[in-house]
C-alpha cells in the first residue's frame, strides 16, 4: 500500500502539491488523472523518492521514505518498477542491453539465463527480433513496450506508469492499456498510472484519483467518477470547454 499524507511541494514559490492525501491500495490498478500541469508526474516522483516533499510523509508498505537515506531508499526501491513518460531507455545501449541491464547489475544469473529472461520479457510485451536495435530505431509504441519489459524484469511489487500512452496513436494506446491490464492480471503488482486518457483509462483501472489544484479532488471506482456530480470532475471527464476548469 502507498500512502501520501498531507504532502506539499512547491517550486520557486509556486505550490504544486498542497496538503495532498492519497492512499493507493496494494495489488490494484489506480489511475491518477487531472489536467496537464497539475503535478501528476511530481506526485509519482514523490512515491518513488525521486523528489522529497516540503511537508508531509510518503509511506510505502508501512515504511516512511520521506527522510530515508540513499541506502534504505534503494532497498525500498527494489520493490518498484517505473515506466517513464519518455521511456528513459539508455540510448547508448541496444534493446537487449537495456532490458538485461538490471539483471546484469542486480543478480548473479548466467549469460544464458539473462538471455532467456530478456527474451521472455520481450515476448511478453509482444516484441521479437529487436535485440540489436537501438532505442532511436524503434517506434514510440515499441519503446514503451521495451520500457515495460525492463520495468517488469525484476518482478516488482509496485509499477509506476507515467503517461504510458502519451505520443501513441489511439490503437497503439489501447493496446498499451490492454498490455498493462493483462500484465497486471498475470503478476498482480500494485500499479499507479498517471494519465489524462479519460475515459479510456476507466476500462483499465480499479480506482481513479483526480488531482486538481494540488489536492485529490475525488477518489473512487471508475463508475463513481463517471457518476460524480462534482462540476470539476464532470468537466474533466466529459471534456467540456465550459466549466470551472479554465484552459489558456
Amino acid at each position: 500500500m502507498i500512502e501520501m499524507l498531507r504532502v506539499s511541494k512547491a517550486f520557486g514559490g509556486q505550490s504544486v502539491l498542497n496538503d495532498l492525501d492519497l492512499v493507493i491500495p496494494g495489488g490494484k490498478i489506480t489511475a491518477v488523472i487531472g489536467p496537464s500541469g497539475e503535478g501528476k508526474s511530481v506526485l509519482l516522483r514523490h512515491i518513488i523518492g525521486l523528489m522529497k516533499p516540503d511537508a508531509g510523509r510518503v509511506i510505502i508498505d508501512g515504511e516512511d521514505i520521506t527522510h530515508m537515506g540513499r541506502r534504505d531508499l534503494n532497498r525500498v526501491r527494489e520493490k518498484f518498477g517505473m515506466l517513464f513518460q519518455n521511456v528513459a531507455l539508455f540510448d547508448s545501449m541496444t534493446v537487449f542491453e537495456n532490458v538485461a541491464f538490471p539483471l546484469e547489475e542486480k543478480t548473479r544469473l548466467t549469460r544464458s539465463e539473462i538471455r532467456d529472461r530478456v527474451h521472455e520479457a520481450l515476448e511478453h510485451v509482444g516484441l521479437k527480433d529487436v535485440d540489436r536495435k537501438y532505442p532511436d530505431q524503434l517506434s514510440g509504441g515499441m519503446k514503451k513496450r521495451v520500457g515495460l519489459a525492463r520495468a517488469l524484469l525484476l518482478n516488482p511489487r509496485i509499477i509506476l506508469f507515467d503517461e504510458p500512452t502519451t505520443g501513441l496513436d489511439p490503437i497503439i494506446g489501447n493496446a498499451m492499456h490492454r498490455l498493462i491490464k493483462d500484465t497486471h492480471a498475470r503478476f498482480g503488482f500494485t500499479a499507479v498510472i498517471v494519465t489524462h486518457e479519460v475515459p479510456a483509462i476507466f476500462d483499465v483501472c480499479d480506482y481513479v484519483a483526480m488531482l486538481y489544484q494540488g489536492r485529490i479532488q475525488i477518489r473512487g471506482t471508475p463508475d463513481e467518477i463517471r457518476d460524480s456530480h462534482d462540476p470539476v470532475v464532470r468537466q474533466f471527464v466529459t471534456g467540456d470547454l465550459e466549466g470551472p476548469l479554465r484552459f489558456v
Partner: protein, 256 residues
C-alpha cells in the same frame, strides 16, 4: 543602495552554496569509488574514451608546441650565444608546465565537453532517474568510471605530450636551425631531474580530477532541455579550463 548590497550578498551566497554542492559531489564520488568502483570494463571504456581517443589531438598539439618552443627558444638563446641549451629549455618547459597544462586543456575540450553533454542528456531524458528507480547508484555507473578514467589517462597523455613535444623541438632546433644534436640531448638529460617529471605528473593527475569533477558535476545538474545541455557544456569547459590554470599556479608554487 540596500538593494545592491542585498543582491551582491545573494550572489555571494549562491556562489558559496554552489561550491559546497560541488565539494559534496566530489566527496560522494570518492566515497562511491572506494565503496563500489564499478566494473573494470566501465573504467576501461572511459580510459579508451578519455585517453586513447585523445591521442591524435594530443600528438598534434604536442608536436607543434614543441616545434614553436624550438623556434622561439633558438631565437632567444642565440641572443646570448647559448643555443646549445635549447634541449633543456624545450624539455623543462614541456615537462614542468606546458605538457600537463596543454594536454589537460585539450582533454577538457575534447572529452570533458562530451562527458558533460552525455550526462546532461541522460539527466534531461530521465535516464539518470531510471537508474535511481532501479535502485542503482548513478555515481557508480556514470561518475566513478569517468573520474578513475581521467585520473589514469591524464598522466599518460601528459607523458606522450612531453615526448612528442621534445621531438618536435628537436626537429626544428637540430634539423632546421642546425643546433648540435648531441648538445640538445645532453643538455636535456643534464637539466631534467626526477623532481621535474614528478611535478608534471602530479599536475596532470590533479588536472584529470578537475576535468572529471567539473564536467560530471555540470552534467549531473543539467536542467531545462537542449539549451540547458548547451549551457552546461559551455560552463563545464570554461570552468574546467580556468580552474586548471588557477590550480596550476598554486601547485607550481608548492612544487617548485
Amino acid at each position: 543602495m540596500q538593494t545592491i548590497i542585498a543582491r551582491i550578498g545573494g550572489m555571494a551566497l549562491a556562489v558559496v552554496r554552489e561550491m559546497g554542492r560541488m565539494l559534496l559531489f566530489l566527496l560522494y564520488a570518492f566515497y562511491m569509488i572506494v565503496r563500489s568502483p564499478g566494473k573494470p570494463i566501465h573504467i576501461l571504456k572511459q580510459l579508451h574514451f578519455i585517453g586513447a581517443k585523445s591521442f591524435f589531438v594530443i600528438f598534434l598539439t604536442a608536436a607543434f608546441t614543441g616545434m614553436v618552443l624550438g623556434l622561439q627558444g633558438y631565437y632567444t638563446l642565440t641572443k646570448f650565444g647559448s643555443e646549445g641549451m635549447l634541449g633543456s629549455v624545450v624539455a623543462l618547459s614541456l615537462i614542468r608546465e606546458l605538457g600537463p597544462v596543454l594536454s589537460a586543456l585539450m582533454v577538457t575540450g575534447r572529452a570533458g565537453s562530451a562527458i558533460t553533454a552525455e550526462i546532461g542528456i541522460m539527466r534531461i531524458t530521465e535516464q539518470i532517474d531510471a537508474l535511481e528507480t532501479m535502485a542503482l547508484e548513478p555515481f557508480k555507473y556514470l561518475m566513478s568510471p569517468k573520474i578513475l578514467g581521467a585520473l589514469i589517462a591524464l598522466p599518460l597523455l601528459c607523458a606522450i605530450f612531453d615526448v612528442v613535444g621534445i621531438f618536435g623541438g628537436y626537429l626544428v632546433g637540430v634539423k632546421l636551425m642546425g643546433v648540435n644534436p648531441g648538445a640538445y640531448l645532453h643538455e636535456m638529460e643534464k637539466s631534467v631531474e626526477w623532481k621535474d617529471i614528478y611535478s608534471g605528473l602530479v599536475k596532470s593527475v590533479s588536472f584529470g580530477l578537475i576535468i572529471a569533477w567539473v564536467c560530471c558535476y555540470k552534467g549531473y545538474y543539467t536542467s531545462r532541455g537542449a539549451e540547458g545541455v548547451s549551457r552546461a557544456t559551455t560552463a563545464a569547459v570554461v570552468m574546467s579550463s580556468v580552474t586548471i590554470l588557477v590550480w596550476d599556479y598554486f601547485l607550481t608554487s608548492i612544487l617548485l
